[in-house]
């Protein structure tokens, strides 16, 4: 496991969503917390892609932001190249680490500053970290980066609104690659794109991974896309990892009831008309998660233990799964 580029142990993030102090005093409301991420552990090998899937409120985007430092973890550890990074104080050392990890966001329209030229957007990391000095050299490097994502050098002089969604996402990728990072966190990078554009962007991402040996954390709710890009898949539900397995294994033999439900529910053009188990219920309110296993109210295999005891993500026949029914062999 020490060969992993990224290692995450018991990562958690709790948000305080209590009413303002005055309201709490006057209306006697209790403090309220959302455990957006509730103890997540995984590792990503160098050059590999781990995908985190789940529905809204499962915490996958929060995990992404925890890794790149947009949020500070409430508890847990994040290791990069064997070194613990969540405790480094801001400074030169932290900047050096941050240079190696970059992020691509979901919304191609909001992730580029509409008032900046593409040149400035892509050159910002270069200027911020002093990697390339002089306007000419910066322009050349930006041109290189744009070409590597399939855009033209002349596009540097344009503004984001002159590009389509797919092209903007490519500009985002170019910006993320500017510091030559080793690790890229991709938060639903193609969810806002049309299918044919998505194909272009996914192909570029795969090519870049091969040519530069990049490691990806790929967040998505689209299992078909996940199947295409990932090596390993982690399924999240209400802030917890319920299953973590190699892609082929997960799709061929899903173990956790939630994973099975997800795979069953997806409308797919090639496998339409197959028989399905009906899906029950909705994702519960994160302010009031169920006791024990978070999935037990919707689970067809839940028993008494499931409502009392939270299952731990345990090794089981080569995969990791958090389910009493699987452990006990009931499934």
């Amino acid at each position: 496991m020490s060969a992993n580029l990224i290692e995450v142990r018991d990562l958690a993030k709790t948000f305080d969503v209590s009413a303002p102090w005055l309201n709490r005093v006057v209306e006697r409301k209790p403090r309220q917390f959302v455990h957006a991420v509730d103890g997540v552990s995984f590792g990503i090998g160098r050059g590999r892609t781990l995908a985190l899937v789940g529905e809204s409120g499962c915490g996958k985007s929060t995990v992404a932001r925890l890794l790149v430092g947009l949020y500070a973890p409430t508890r847990g550890e994040v290791h990069f190249e064997g070194q613990r990074i969540d405790t480094i104080k801001p400074g030169a050392e932290l900047r050096a680490v941050r240079r190696c990890m970059q992020m691509i966001f979901q919304d191609p329209y909001a992730s580029l500053n509409p008032r900046w030229k593409v040149l400035d957007i892509v050159a910002e990391p270069l200027r911020e970290h002093g990697l390339v000095a002089g306007a000419e050299a910066q322009r050349a490097r930006v041109g290189e980066l744009l070409r590597s994502v399939g855009l033209a050098e002349a596009d540097a002089e344009k503004f984001p609104h002159q590009f389509s969604g797919g092209q903007r996402q490519r500009i985002s990728i170019a910006r993320a690659l500017a510091t030559q990072p080793e690790f890229l966190v991709c938060d639903e990078p193609t969810s806002a794109l049309d299918v044919s554009v998505q194909a272009q962007v996914l192909n570029i991402m795969k090519d870049l991974q091969k040519s530069r040996g990049l490691t990806y954390l790929f967040i998505s709710h689209n299992l078909a896309v996940v199947r295409h890009v990932s090596d390993q898949v982690g399924v999240m539900y209400l802030g917890r990892l319920v299953e973590l397995a190699d892609k082929a294994e997960l799709f061929a033999r899903p173990r956790h009831p939630y994973t099975r439900m997800l795979l069953d529910a997806i409308p797919d053009i090639h496998m339409s008309g197959r028989s399905r188990t009906p899906v029950q219920g909705e994702v519960p309110n994160p302010l009031n998660p169920p006791s024990g296993c978070a999935f037990h109210p919707r689970c067809p295999h839940a028993n008494d233990r499931c409502s009392r005891e939270r299952p731990a993500l345990a090794e089981w026949k080569g995969i990791r799964v958090a389910c009493h029914a699987v452990e006990e062999g009931r499934l």
């Binding site: 529905e55 809204s56 389509s164 969604g165 797919g166 092209q167 049309d194 299918v195 044919s196 554009v197 998505q198 194909a199 272009q200 996914l202 192909n203 795969k206 709710h221 299992l223 078909a224 896309v225 199947r227 295409h228 799709f251 439900m261 997800l262 795979l263 069953d264 529910a265 997806i266 409308p267 797919d268 053009i269 090639h270 496998m271 339409s272 008309g273 399905r276 899906v279 909705e282 994702v283």
Partner: protein
């Protein structure tokens, strides 16, 4: 045996947007029909004009957009040139609508019971208590538990999936013949999507309504629809039974589209991709709109625009099809 008369007929529909830079042609000569009780999918990428088609049919085109030519007939009667008041009557009674965002489709200031009863009473000659009975029944049909209590709750007290069920109930309230659904599941989680899709299918069969389902998600189309129309740059590229369009498409755009969708059942190293992007409304190419991106483009495609022609089980607007038929 003669085919039943179509419920909805759209002929040569043209929708234009006059702007200061000239007139933009958003829909260019669209023709299709929907049979009673049929579910027609209209699929396309952003900018293809699928939402506009739905809006034109319901009569909710945002000005300055307007219908410039063509006709829309519902049960044989023309509805595209009706004055506002008459269209308003038809809109609730014969055509129901479901939009993408359940949050904004319901008025937050009224209970869902009030909204349902209002819709029912506007279009059907029933008393208030009868209307309430119907409303409760509708809610139960859409799978909302404890409908008799929940009918007096406000929209914000429902979750997203529940709200979309209420919207479906609203759409069905006046027993319409046609429902236009514009991306009804896009804003919902995957597991809820599946529930809503099956609900829509079941209820429209029960109530005998036809559906025009507009979406960009081919998977939803595959699960729900009988026929599908693939739109590109304001025109229909291919139309036909769902299974044939997906598994044996004739139009190169449809082929490319199907190929670029990642599959759940097999691994591919690269996804098939279509070079370039859909043209903007200001720069639609001469001849076939797809010709700059088409891997099988011929000279004819660059100058002459193809109409929909027979391509076996489907109809496709493509000169390749014409040449195949000849040989």
């Amino acid at each position: 045996m003669a085919a039943p008369a179509p419920l909805l007929e759209v002929k040569n529909l043209r929708v234009e947007f006059p702007t200061r830079r000239g007139t933009l042609l958003a829909l260019d000569d669209i023709s299709f029909s929907i049979a009673p009780g049929e579910i027609l999918g209209v699929v396309g990428e952003s900018g293809a004009g699928k939402s506009l088609t739905g809006a034109a049919i319901i009569g909710l085109l945002e000005p300055p957009g307007r219908i410039a030519a063509g006709e829309i007939r519902l049960e044989g009667q023309r509805i595209d040139d009706l004055p506002y008041e008459q269209m308003r009557v038809i809109r609730g009674r014969k055509i129901g609508a479901i939009f993408q965002d359940p949050l904004t489709s319901l008025n937050p200031l009224y209970t869902i019971g009030q909204q349902l009863v209002e819709t029912i009473q506007t279009h059907l000659p029933v008393s208030a208590s009868e209307a309430r009975e119907r409303a409760i029944k509708l809610l139960q049909e859409t799978g909302i538990q404890a409908a008799e209590q929940r009918i007096d709750q406000y929209p914000h007290q429902f979750s997203g999936g529940m709200r979309q069920r209420v919207v479906i109930a609203l759409a069905l309230a006046a027993e319409p013949k046609l429902i236009v659904a514009d991306e009804p599941t896009t804003a919902l989680d995957v597991s809820i999507q599946a529930q809503i899709i099956s609900l829509l299918k079941r209820l429209t069969k029960v109530h005998g309504a036809a559906v025009m389902l507009v979406t960009h998600d081919m998977g939803v189309i595959a699960e729900t629809c009988d026929r599908v129309a693939v739109m590109y740059a304001g025109r229909i590229a291919e139309i036909g039974p769902v299974h044939d369009v997906i598994h044996s498409p004739s139009h190169p755009y449809t082929v490319g589209l199907m190929g670029s969708i990642p599959a759940m059942d097999e691994d591919r190293d690269r996804l098939a991709q279509i070079e370039g992007a859909m043209p903007r409304l200001t720069a639609i190419p001469r001849g076939c709109a797809f010709n700059p991106r088409c891997p099988q483009v011929m000279d004819r495609c660059r100058s002459e625009r193809p109409d929909l022609m027979d391509a076996g089980p489907t109809r496709a607007a493509c000169w390749l099809v014409a040449s195949k038929v000849r040989t």
